[in-house]
């Protein structure tokens, strides 16, 4: 049975309420941290844990915290990124909905470590019912002395506020989020200055993902050193994976990062195999921005080694033959799915979400959407495939924020691994409207092995 650090108690009856959460051992970590540790010691513990940001980029959290500037007399802020809008990703929602006090507990400890007296949770506007759940948890925590003035007699004051976004994927990017929190359009800022120096209201700011901040609780309870023993290599601790697509058991799973991709898909403990007895065609393992992998590169790396559900193994082979852990949004496509159409919907998504500040992103995402739509609907030309390749290359690396890259990568990977499917669409404009390409030579890896 796998170790569970975040969701172990998520289904205890009534765990949303303070009393049950507390009875199950909740707020012990706050007690330990605030009463027996200094802010610096907490940062040190998080460094030792090896925790990496769970929002997508995987940057070491302890290191990020140690960069926060501490100019005399200037308040600092912690902002929790609950914008969760990367297609395929719905893990933060699960955590906030089912075990909200875990996040609040993590926020109190992290606010203490960073010196934030006013901490904000920026949540995507569409999750319109979750702020009520969080505000209820905050009120209970406050009523029980874990928030407010002079918490546990330490002299530390802290308030947590929930701020709703209003429908914009780009506000998940940390500088766009800060702009939005200031009441502006979500246009990413040019870095530097980094938020750690000049963030919200020009004050030093740390932005972290929901899951990252919740993971601080087990780190304090276990110690950083013990936390780091779970998992493998630089993939320490546990990771929430939201699994969707053509699988038997879509949902949110907490994994320790030693299991293989094959086990994750086929084990009854996780996805439970491909639905309706179909065969596996492809998978986007870390949210819509990361490269899609055909089945034959999913279970084994190009070197023929088993691929595991962790940062290093998922990216083994780079973009040529690997992918990324990303946000943990695990999208599975069976043999009946069309890679061209799926990629088209993602291109449409990125065009819709581009803030429009940089021309390569604004124009490029529009062109990619149009060309992919043409190919998908049987109006494409062979030269369109090369044109798409060319456009995505011109976006990547030439924009203010990484949304440009995020839009380019899925298109690049789809062409890289499924070029014959694109070509088939162009060569068979009518047939491609009535049936799908199928598996072709990207046979289910299990059959290749057999």
């Amino acid at each position: 049975m796998a170790v569970k650090l975040l969701l172990e108690k998520a289904h205890v009856e009534g765990i949303r309420t303070y009393d049950v959460y507390r009875r199950e051992g909740g707020y012990r970590a706050v007690e330990k941290a605030l009463k027996s540790m200094s802010p610096e010691a907490i940062v040190e513990e998080v460094k030792k844990s090896g925790l990496r940001g769970r929002g997508g980029a995987g940057f070491p959290t302890g290191m990020k915290w140690s960069f926060i500037a501490k100019p005399e007399g200037v308040p600092r802020h912690l902002v929790c990124n609950a914008d969760e809008s990367e297609p395929g990703t719905f893990k933060d929602r699960y955590l906030m909905e089912f075990i909200p006090h875990l996040l609040i507990e993590g926020l109190i400890i992290s606010s203490f470590a960073l010196g934030s007296n006013a901490t904000y949770i920026y949540i995507r506007g569409e999750y319109a019912w979750i702020p009520d759940i969080l505000e209820q948890a905050i009120a209970e925590a406050k009523a029980n002395g874990w928030l407010g003035k002079n918490i546990l007699g330490t002299g530390f004051d802290c308030e947590i506020y929930v701020q709703r976004g209003a429908g914009a994927y780009i506000c998940g990017e940390e500088t766009a989020l800060i702009e939005s929190l200031e009441g502006k359009r979500g246009n990413p800022r040019i870095k530097p200055p980094f938020p750690a120096v000049k963030g919200v209201w020009d004050r030093p700011t740390v932005v972290n993902n929901v899951e990252t901040l919740a993971a601080v609780v087990p780190i304090i309870n276990l110690t950083g050193e013990e936390y780091a023993k779970i998992g493998v290599g630089r993939s320490t601790g546990t990771k929430l994976i939201s699994a969707c697509g053509n699988i038997n058991k879509p949902g949110v799973y907490e994994i320790d990062m030693t299991i293989s991709v094959e086990e994750f898909i086929y084990s009854d403990e996780y996805c439970g195999g491909i639905a309706n007895g179909k065969r596996l065609k492809a998978c986007i393992p870390g949210g819509s921005s990361v490269p899609i992998l055909p089945a034959n590169l999913l279970f084994k790396t190009a070197k023929g080694e088993t691929r595991y559900m962790n940062y290093e193994s998922l990216s083994d082979g780079g973009f040529a033959t690997g992918s990324m852990m990303g946000s943990g949004g695990f999208i599975v496509l069976d043999e009946d799915q069309c890679v061209v159409k799926h990629t088209y919907t993602l291109a449409r998504f990125y065009r819709h979400e581009s803030c429009g500040q940089c021309s390569p992103c604004r124009e490029g995402t529009g062109w990619m959407e149009k060309i992919l739509k043409n190919i998908d609907t049987g109006k494409g030309k062979m030269s369109d495939i090369d044109l798409l390749w060319d456009i995505q290359r011109k976006i990547e690396g030439n924009t203010i924020c990484p949304l440009g890259d995020a839009a380019a990568w899925p298109v690049a990977a789809a062409i890289r691994h499924f070029r014959d499917e694109f070509e088939w669409h162009v060569l068979n404009p009518e047939e491609s409207q009535v049936r799908n390409f199928g598996l072709a030579h990207y046979a289910d890896a299990r059959e290749v092995v057999a």
Binding site: F90, R93, R124, Y127, E159, Y169, G245, S288
Partner: protein
């Protein structure tokens, strides 16, 4: 005249108090949500009113209201169906759900039924990909949609509306 109830005005003050002095513009997104709740959509009068509440220029409100997809800049029906059409929902049949609703209500995405009851919109990933196909209806999500479920939702809406009229 566009004006919040006293209760909403108190809420606005409570929201402004979350930010440092002089940073009341940070309250803009939450206050626009309140305004939309109260008035259904954001007319230019409403936006001007919000600007006056936060002591900012009307243009600062227009800029924001036009950027974020959740703000309605036109009146919408009593119930809005926002059906997700991104990849993970698409592979679970969101296209069929959208055409079924189009057919059933005789409207296209972006349109409202003549009786002002329903608006249909297509939206991008709402973070419910594992429970696809899905749509947002007001504050909540309707997940694992089927044609039968859509029928039931529409009936339910009509009944509730009739009971409240």
């Amino acid at each position: 005249m566009t004006k919040f109830s006293d209760e909403k005005l108190a809420k606005v003050q409570e929201i402004i108090a979350r930010y440092p002095d002089g940073k009341q513009k940070s309250a803009l997104l939450p206050v626009l949500h309140l305004a939309q709740e109260e008035f259904g959509w954001l007319s230019s009068d409403t936006m001007d009113y919000v600007a006056s509440l936060l002591s900012i220029e009307p243009i600062e409100v227009y800029e924001v209201a036009t950027f974020y997809s959740m703000y309605n800049l036109q009146p919408v029906g009593r119930y809005t169906f926002e059906v997700c059409q991104t990849g993970p929902c698409m592979i679970k049949g969101s296209d069929d759900i959208i055409s079924y609703i189009e057919q059933k209500l005789n409207i296209k995405p972006g349109q409202t039924t003549e009786d002002g009851m329903f608006t249909l919109k297509t939206v991008e990933c709402l973070g419910a990909c594992g429970y696809a196909p899905m749509m947002q209806m007001g504050k909540f999500y309707k997940e694992h949609l089927t044609k039968e479920k859509v029928d039931a939702i529409i009936d339910e809406c009509r009944k509730t509306a009739a009971a409240n009229n």
